[in-house]
């Protein structure tokens, strides 16, 4: 099976985010990592390839720094990478990002495209499904298991509150992958070495510009959410805080 994995670079979970005066977040001086569900999507693609053969290709869009997620993916075992490299790509909405990806892969023939089910930064949960619609392919979201069948694949969708559902579907298809579908591997030293010689195709903004339109939605501003609940902050050395908390649990929460 030939599988494309869409991956996004996002700020590290613990990274403090700063806002500028116009209400945008400052992208410089932030540490980045791969979007967590995308890491699971890559792992799943590698496992499918190990079982059924084929090829795993990874794609991302963003400035030079975003290439790091591709290098990590190549080190873990992806065969080649595509980088839509331009700072302008970070400003695209999900519709335009999907259009750019569709254009960049128009000469390829994939059986499956995986994305993470949503990103840890903006969390739109849309790019994968939009891409499926643009390509005219079927899709399934929040996937926890994938088995090859005679006519295509059978996937296990996660539903709310501990429910699941198996869905049979034809190929090619787009799947959005949920964290926890598998156990992630680490890159090996050999893998990191080999990654340096794997093909990485760069795609410029100009190459895909013709298919992009104006963004359909716009972030007016970002801000720190206002606290609505009256939270009591307990302060002091650990032993002191422990005493205070137990006092609250006894007299106010009344569980002791």
């Amino acid at each position: 099976m030939k599988i494309l994995v869409c991956m996004k670079q996002v700020p590290q979970k613990d990274a403090p985010l700063k806002l500028n005066e116009s209400g945008a977040w400052i992208r410089e001086d932030v540490s980045y990592e791969v979007n967590e569900p995308d890491a699971y999507a890559l792992e799943e693609a590698l496992r499918q390839k190990e079982k059924h053969g084929g090829e795993v290709v990874v794609i991302t869009s963003g400035p030079t720094r975003a290439g790091q997620v591709l290098r990590e993916a190549l080190a873990k075992g992806a065969d080649r990478a595509i980088h839509l490299e331009d700072n302008a790509f970070v400003g695209l909405d999900a519709f335009n990002t999907a259009r750019a990806f569709a254009e960049a892969i128009k000469d390829e023939k994939f059986d499956l495209i995986f994305t993470g089910l949503q990103s840890d930064d903006y969390g739109y949960a849309q790019t994968g499904v939009v891409l499926a619609e643009l390509l005219g392919w079927p899709h399934a979201t929040i996937i926890m298991q994938i088995e090859k069948t005679d006519g295509g694949i059978q996937v296990k969708r996660e539903l709310e509150a501990g429910y699941f559902q198996f869905v049979d579907m034809p190929l090619p298809a787009v799947l959005t992958i949920q964290s926890g579908i598998n156990k992630l591997r680490y890159a090996t030293l050999i893998g990191i070495k080999q990654a340096k010689n794997k093909p990485l195709r760069k795609v410029t903004l100009a190459e895909v510009q013709a298919v992009l339109g104006p963004n359909l939605q716009k972030i007016e501003k970002l801000y720190v959410p206002q606290k609505t609940k009256n939270t009591e902050f307990l302060q002091g050395p650990a032993a002191e805080v422990a005493k205070q908390l137990v006092e609250k649990l006894r007299n106010e929460v009344r569980v002791l």
């Binding site: 700020p11 499904v129 399934a140 049979d168 007016e220 609940k229 939270t231 005493k243």
Partner: protein, 328 residues
């Protein structure tokens, strides 16, 4: 006349209650904009749900009926709703941000050349402009987002963003219009099987009075023991955020949140949990919430009654001792 369409969700002919929150949002938006409020329900045999919705304050309910809409598939739902939207041309289309909606709404919007502002928690009307507020960076920041395209504008609202008990009943029942969409053979490509629950749960956390819940801040599997000791001292149950169960450090049936259990104990003590919305929906009904987190800006503090900003490994050991002392 401009209109707002709320698409409610049903399963096996029963209304998903979160739809009432979206209706409340729709009623508020209708009052603010002066636009007409309508609702739609999609499926096979949905007249009961349509009747229930028609009792609320709105102008009309569309019952979109077809045998091809059961079981749910994104292909059939997108096709059926596209036909309705093309004929009725609402300005604003609202849905709850459920697993089902997020499965088909990006497809539906894309098929019309439009976009979705997803998982919103509020809206503002700024002159003639509508702005929708959504969480970003897992709740660390909020964003005001607007549409820069023509209607229809698609918006999904997060579970809990509006209050279902704020829905106003109508003076008289709204008209119900049954719509039979044409869904050609071959449109539906996925073949879904029955919905099921994984092997029966061994623990029922909904009955627990006290829950000590651990998140990724616990760092290593062996440290979960520390949280267990606290739970034991308090006479409570141990639970966890999703990554802890994904890693296999605690069994899946200890997971709290949208894909785990929903609990409302007297005390919920969160250790090293950031407070992502998918976790919060599973525990926000707790009577008292205590959060211990080293990051003073962790979103969990937004809903905590008592907060300790600090390293859980410093605080939990003396806490266990104090609890033991208090219990004598």
């Amino acid at each position: 006349m401009s209109s707002i369409l709320v698409v409610v969700e049903q399963r096996e002919g029963k209304l998903n209650r979160v739809s009432l929150e979206t209706l409340a949002a729709g009623q508020a938006l209708a009052a603010d904009t002066g636009w007409t409020l309508e609702a739609a329900v999609v499926g096979n045999g949905v007249s009961g749900v349509a009747g229930e919705i028609a009792g609320q304050k709105l102008a009309r309910v569309y019952a979109i009926e077809s045998a091809k809409l059961e079981p749910y598939t994104p292909d059939a739902f997108a096709a059926a709703l596209k036909q309705l939207l093309e004929t009725k041309q609402p300005k604003l289309v609202l849905m709850p941000h459920t697993y089902q909606v997020r499965d088909f709404i990006p497809k539906l919007a894309t098929s019309l050349g439009r976009t979705v502002i997803s998982d919103c928690i509020a809206y503002k009307k700024d002159g003639d402009k509508l702005v929708f507020t959504r969480q970003m960076f897992q709740g660390k920041l909020a964003a005001d987002v607007s549409f820069t395209c023509d209607a229809p504008w698609f918006v999904t609202f997060q579970n809990g963003a509006f209050r279902a008990d704020k829905v106003e009943a109508g003076a008289s029942a709204a008209a119900i219009e049954t719509v039979n969409p044409a869904i050609a053979d071959g449109v539906i490509r996925n073949r879904p099987q029955e919905v099921f629950k994984e092997a029966k749960q061994a623990v029922d956390l909904t009955q627990a009075d006290i829950i000590v819940s651990v998140g990724r801040g616990i760092k290593e599997q062996k440290n979960v023991e520390l949280a267990k000791q606290l739970a034991e001292a308090l006479g409570g149950e141990i639970a966890a955020s999703r990554p802890i169960c994904d890693a296999g450090w605690l069994p899946m049936d200890r997971q709290i949140g949208s894909s785990g259990q929903t609990v409302a104990p007297k005390l919920y003590l969160a250790l090293g949990i950031s407070g992502a919305i998918q976790h919060i929906v599973g525990m926000k009904g707790s009577r008292a919430i205590v959060a211990i987190n080293k990051d003073s800006e962790a979103p969990i503090f937004e809903i905590a009654d008592y907060a300790v900003v600090g390293n859980l490994f410093d605080i939990v050991p003396p806490l266990i001792e104090e609890v033991k002392k208090a219990k004598g």
